[in-house]
Structures are given as C-alpha cells and as structure tokens.
C-alpha cells in the first residue's frame, strides 16, 4: 500500500514538469474549441420553422418573477393552499375520527364481553389503537388535500421561480441562493430538505442550509398548526372569516419560519461560518402541464401514504407507551402524572405545560404524533372516546386543562422552532458526518424554541 501515495506524488510532480512545457493559454483554447464545436453542431442540427412562436413562458415569467408582483403572488398562492386545506380537511377529519372511535368502543365492549383481562383490552385498544386512530384522523385529510396542491405547483415548474424570487434575500443573509430551493423541499419533509442541500456546492453555505432547514414546518407539523389555528385563532373571529383567519395564522407561522431561517443563516454566516455568498446560475425550466395521474400517484401514494405509514409506525408504540405511563403507578399517581408534574414548571415558564413537553419528548421519532399524544394524555385512561369534533377538543383543552390563546400561540411557535425529528437528525449526521454539527442542528433550534416561547410568555403575562 505504501507505494501508492508515492506513485501519486510522482504523477503530480511529472504533471507539473509537463505543464511548464505547454503553451500558457492551452486551457482557454481547449474550452473555446469546445464551445465553437457545440455551436457549429447545433447550428447544423437545429432549424427554426417559420416565425419564432409567441412565448407564453416568458410572458408568464415576466409576471411571476417580477420584482413587484413576484413575492405577493407567491404569498397569495401559499395562503390559498393553506386555506383550501383548512376548509377541506375539517369535516373529513371529524368523520374519520367518529368512525374510528366508534370501532374502538365496539372493540372494547367485545373484548370485555369475551372476558379479556382489562390490561390487554386497555393496552391494545385504548393504547395502540387509539394512537393510530388519532394520527389517521388528524393527519390524513389535510395531507390528502395539501400534497396534490403542492405537487401541482412543483410539476408546473413553480419552485425554481420561488427560488428566483427569494435568492436575493438569502444572499443578503450570506447564504447560497439555492437555499431557497432546499427550504422549499423542507416544507415537504425536513429530512428530504437536508438531502437536497447537495445541490449547493460550497460546503459553508451547504452547512448553513442544513442547519436551518428545520425552521420551515414540514408536513408532519402542519396538522398541529392547522388544528391549533382552527381551534383557537378561528374561534376569535366571526364564522364568516374564521377559515381565512386560520389560514392567515398558519401563513404567519410559515413566514416567521422563513424569517427565522434568514436570521439564523445571517447569524451563522457572520460568526461560526464566515464567508461571502457565492454566485450561481439557476435555470428556469419551462412551464410544463402536470399530468393528473402522476400528480395523484406522487402526492397520494409516494407522499400521503408514505408519511401516514411512517406516522402510524411511531404512533402505535407511542400509544402503547402512553397507555403504560398512564396505567403504571408509582405510589399514588401514574407515571404519566409524575413525568408531567416534573416537566410542569419548565412548561409553565414557556406558556405551555408539562403534558405538552412530555408529548414532545414522546414524539421525538416523528413530529406528526404530538397532538394525538397530547390529547391522549389529557384524556387519561377514561373511556371517553367520543371526542371527535374540533369543538369538543377545544372544550377539553380550554375548560378542563386551562388552555388560553397564549398556550395555542406558544405551542405553534414551539412546533415551528423546536428540534428536528429523529429521522432529520440522523440525516444531518449522514450528510455532515460530524457529531458536532449534528448536535448544533438538533440543539440550536431547541434552545431557540425555549427562548422565543419564554419571551412571548413573559411579555404576554406582564401585559396581562
């Protein structure tokens, strides 16, 4: 083996000798001849028939990427997407919940009728099954509406236009303009967003993009945001405006996520990851008519079912853990109560409570299950399964557990900013191969989440 490095060094030494004999401009001439050749061949092979066709693409692009209309149009499109999701998901969610919980009730009755031990019935149906039922009813409808719309925008060719509209912001923050693309991928899934940073060639800028990808909410977090916006924000408005208010609230959280992304990128590129933003070219692909079948396949099979299965895979064990925590006792109280009690002071300080924090700990494998976990713990072991409408959820949270608008707002903020899920953390490690940067990627958002929610809670309380 020792001969190889020596042979390699020999190659380079010889190469330097040989190069000194070459004409100094040989590189330029080689590159030039390549271009000349390409032009010559293309001229022979391509013929334009008749008049150049009136180009739709350019006309549309003049509008879509215009400095005046570009950003507002983008905001409008995103807001409309959320609005349609919120409007469309509400009723199916309730319906699915009602059906699934009716099944639970029947099954529990059947098990009891057969004389199954209470712990088996409880573990299987009030634990594992209930976790699954919550995940499916809270997540499936919004995803089945949101993903097809997202995929249509993607297949049309809108994503690179978003990058085009936003790249100046990222460059101002000392980051790579392509980070706007990887951020857009993060809206789907942060782990996929982290992998997509491979399109950024500068290691410094790529690291910034990896560390900040988590600040845009992924699909696992939309159901949480949408539910909270629907229950708490929309309720503050007259019914006619409720859905717009809810969409506006989700939109505000997303924009805040983009702002935090930019701010943290700026901070990183001024401190630990110093450097200038590098230039790049971005090709705007032609608008392409999306194929309906492929959109349905991609968004429903590849995305919706995929995400749902992943959520279910974590929800089943999480449901079991919650049931065990609620039913195993230590002294007078259940383990769940002990844990929640322990976390309560910390939770209260940031405007939440111990149960919410415990739910976040249990949901580290997948953010999708935070709300179901929380609800299951609030509901305890009771046989109360008929909670299916958002209105009932609201009553449980507000009347029985003392939630306020502050709790909802801070939970949305915490959901936006907190640490990435386990899959994303593993992906960050795979892409950076650095324990240190992985730790930064996991802990920096967590610290930021605590800081922001603490400040908001303190300010809100001092204002009464």
């Amino acid at each position: 083996m020792s001969s190889e490095p020596k042979a390699a060094a020999e190659v380079l030494a010889r190469a330097d000798q040989l190069r000194s004999r070459l004409a100094p401009d040989f590189r330029d001439r080689m590159v030039e001849s390549l271009y000349v050749e390409a032009e010559r061949i293309a001229r022979r092979a391509v013929r334009r028939q008749g008049e150049p066709v009136w180009s739709w693409d350019q006309r549309i692009d003049r509008f879509v990427t215009s400095p005046v209309f570009g950003l507002p149009l983008m905001l409008l499109l995103i807001a409309a997407t959320f609005w349609v999701t919120i409007i469309g998901a509400n009723y199916p969610s309730e319906l699915i919940a009602r059906i699934l919980f009716a099944v639970e009730e029947r099954a529990v009755a059947a098990f009891q009728g057969l004389g199954a031990p209470w712990w088996l019935t409880g573990f299987l149906w009030n634990g594992v099954y209930r976790g699954l039922a919550w995940v499916v009813s809270v997540m499936l409808p919004p995803m089945a509406i949101f993903f097809p719309m997202f995929t249509i925008l993607e297949d049309l060719g809108y994503l690179p236009r978003v990058a085009f509209n936003m790249d100046w912001l990222f460059r101002k923050a000392g980051a790579h303009g392509k980070q706007s693309l990887t951020m857009a991928m993060g809206f789907g899934c942060n782990a996929a967003g982290v992998i997509s940073t491979r399109i950024i060639d500068s290691p410094r800028e790529r690291l910034i993009a990896i560390l900040t990808n988590n600040f845009v909410p992924c699909n696992g977090r939309y159901p949480t945001l949408i539910m909270l916006a629907t229950i708490f924000v929309a309720a503050q408005f007259p019914a006619a405006f409720a859905s717009f208010a809810a969409a506006g609230a989700v939109m505000a959280v997303v924009l805040l996520g983009v702002l935090v992304t930019l701010a943290v990128s700026w901070g990183l590129s001024r401190t630990v990851l110093k450097g200038e933003a590098s230039a790049f070219t971005l090709e705007l692909p032609p608008y392409r008519r999306p194929s309906i079948l492929r959109i349905l396949y991609t968004s429903l099979i590849d995305r919706t079912i995929f995400v749902l299965l992943r959520a279910m895979a974590t929800a089943a064990p999480a449901g079991a853990v919650i049931w065990l925590l609620a039913n195993l006792h230590w002294g007078e109280q259940s383990l769940a109560r002990h844990c929640a009690h322990l976390l309560d002071p910390l939770g209260r300080a940031i405007g939440l409570d111990g149960v919410v924090l415990l739910a976040y700990v249990i949901a580290i494998p997948a953010n999708e299950i935070v709300v179901p976990t929380m609800l299951m713990m609030y509901l305890g072991t009771g046989m109360m399964t008929e909670v299916s409408t958002f209105d009932q959820i609201r009553r449980i949270l507000v009347e029985e557990n003392g939630w306020t608008l502050l709790t909802a707002v801070n939970l949305m903020l915490f959901s936006l900013l907190h640490n990435p899920c386990a899959t994303t953390i593993i992906t960050i490690w795979k892409e950076t191969r650095s324990a240190r940067w992985t730790a930064v990627g996991a802990l920096m958002p967590l610290a930021l989440a605590f800081l922001v929610t603490f400040v908001v809670a303190t300010v809100a309380r001092s204002l009464g």
């Binding site: 390699a8 004999r21 390409a38 391509v46 491979r198 399109i199």
Partner: protein
C-alpha cells in the same frame, strides 16, 4: 453509423416495443449496465420511468435527483440495469450531486451511456455530450423534449446530429414514450457492437497530446484499475485541484473501487424522496 434517424413516432405496435419488458427494481442479476446522464431538468427521470416502469418522482426543477436511482428492463432476452444520475452541466463539476454523476460516468464503467439532451437547448447541452464522448465510445444521444421543441417551432435533425457526433442520436418524448422503442433498440445495438460508433473527439494540440500519453501510464500505476486514465491525465495537467487532492489522499482509488458496488441505500423514512 446507422440506427439513428427519424423517430418512430407513437410506435406502439412495432416489434421492438413488444419485446421491451419493464422490470422495475427486480434486479438480482443483469447483463448490461446503462447510465442516464444529462443536464438538469432534461427529463432523465421521465426517461428512467419510461424504460423501467418505475415511478421515480419527476419534479420540474433542476436538482430534483440528488442520488442515483436504479431500475431495469429486459429486451430480447437480455437484462439491462439502468442508473439515473443527477443532472450535471459538465464533467468538471464541484457540487456533490454533480460529483455523483461524474464519478459514475468515469469509474462505473457503464456498458452504454445515454446522454439525455433538451431538444429546445441543444447547443448548451452539447457541452456535456462532447465531454462524455471524450471518455467513452459507447454513447447514445437521446434528444428528449421533442414535443416542447416542436411547440417552439424548432426542428431537430437527429440524422445530422448523429453524423456530426459519430454516435447514434434518437429523438424522444419520454413523457409519452415516443421514440422509446427505437432508443432501446439502439442501446442494445451499441452494446452488442451492431452499431459501431466513432465519437467526435477534439484534436488536442500535439504537445498536450504527448504530455497526456506520458502521464496516463503513471496514473494507471498509482491507481490500479482506473478507467479513463487519459482523461484524468488531461484534468491534472489542466490543474484540477480537487482531482489532485483526491489522487494524493487515496480518495480517488477508493472511489474507483466503490463505483460498481451498491449505491447508498434509500432511507424509507424520508417521505418526500419518494421511491428514490
């Protein structure tokens, strides 16, 4: 120099088509290895899907594919493994997704490299085509997105292109599978040697040519089993810093060893990558 020429538009009944059997990812063994290369957003993933019957997500933005996707098809009783590479503008690239493409083209020893080109921007795409021709004989140029070219009033003469390049050029619309039958036939013919290619290569200045000839054997000694030593020699004379570093650190040898082995396994937990 045959096999190129007018596309078999909408050829659903022609015999070649009926022999094409998509195999998805069931690839226990294969006879031939085919690489799909090309500029970003030229429809490589669409072509990959058309060939293999897989449903790799096709996004309309450059940089969608950042890892290698693999699939296969069967034609005339032979099994072909197809590798869909990330888009790249040139072989002289720096970002990681482009490096994945470059390393495979240089060191993966595909039996045939299909360079997918955008019919509406042929001149820009020719840069990569010409570079690929420098490193391998077994090339088929796939002029894709012919429907978009027609809409823009552009007529691409694949016969002339094929003649100039010295390798077959096939016109296709991967989304509607137009020309796929002929493409498959041509890939098979190039691999079997029925179509003999004479790729266009730029004449290097004599001094450079001499320097390359002298350096290439040294590189082969330093990295045993390295394909394309002459191209590496040219790059090193050109002063490619990354390549120099990779040579000294032994990274180059490791890459050469690793290329034919399995690509990184897809992570089933990463939802939006779909079936990467």
């Amino acid at each position: 120099m045959s096999g190129a020429g007018a596309a078999d538009q909408g050829c659903a009944q022609c015999p070649a088509r009926s022999q094409l059997e998509q195999m998805g990812i069931s690839l226990s063994s294969y006879d031939h290895l085919v690489a799909l290369a090309g500029n970003p957003n030229t429809g490589k993933s669409s072509l990959f899907n058309a060939l293999t019957g897989l449903k790799q997500h096709v996004g309309n933005w450059p940089g969608k594919t950042v890892t290698r996707a693999e699939g296969g098809f069967q034609y005339n009783g032979r099994r072909y493994k197809v590798v869909d590479l990330p888009g790249t503008y040139s072989l002289l690239s720096a970002s990681q997704d482009e490096e994945i493409a470059r390393n495979f083209l240089l060191f993966g020893r595909p039996d045939c490299t299909v360079v997918v080109a955008d019919a509406t921007a042929l001149e820009r795409n020719l840069n990569l085509i010409l570079q690929v021709l420098e490193i391998t004989d077994k090339v088929v140029v796939c002029v894709n997105l012919m429907d978009e070219a027609r809409r823009k009033g552009l007529q691409v003469d694949v016969r002339a292109l094929s003649k100039d390049l010295g390798v077959p050029a096939i016109a296709t619309v991967a989304r509607t599978k137009e020309g796929i039958g002929e493409l498959v036939r041509t890939i098979a013919a190039v691999i079997e040697g029925e179509i003999r290619t004479r790729p266009l290569r730029p004449a290097y200045p004599p001094q450079l040519q001499q320097a390359i000839e002298e350096l290439a054997p040294l590189i082969e000694r330093a990295v045993p089993g390295i394909p394309n030593a002459r191209w590496i020699a040219y790059r090193i004379l050109d002063g490619d810093h990354r390549l120099r570093q990779a040579l000294i650190s032994g990274e180059l040898a490791a890459v050469v060893r690793a290329q034919r082995e399995a690509p990184e396994a897809p992570n089933p937990l990463i939802a939006l990558e779909g079936k990467q």
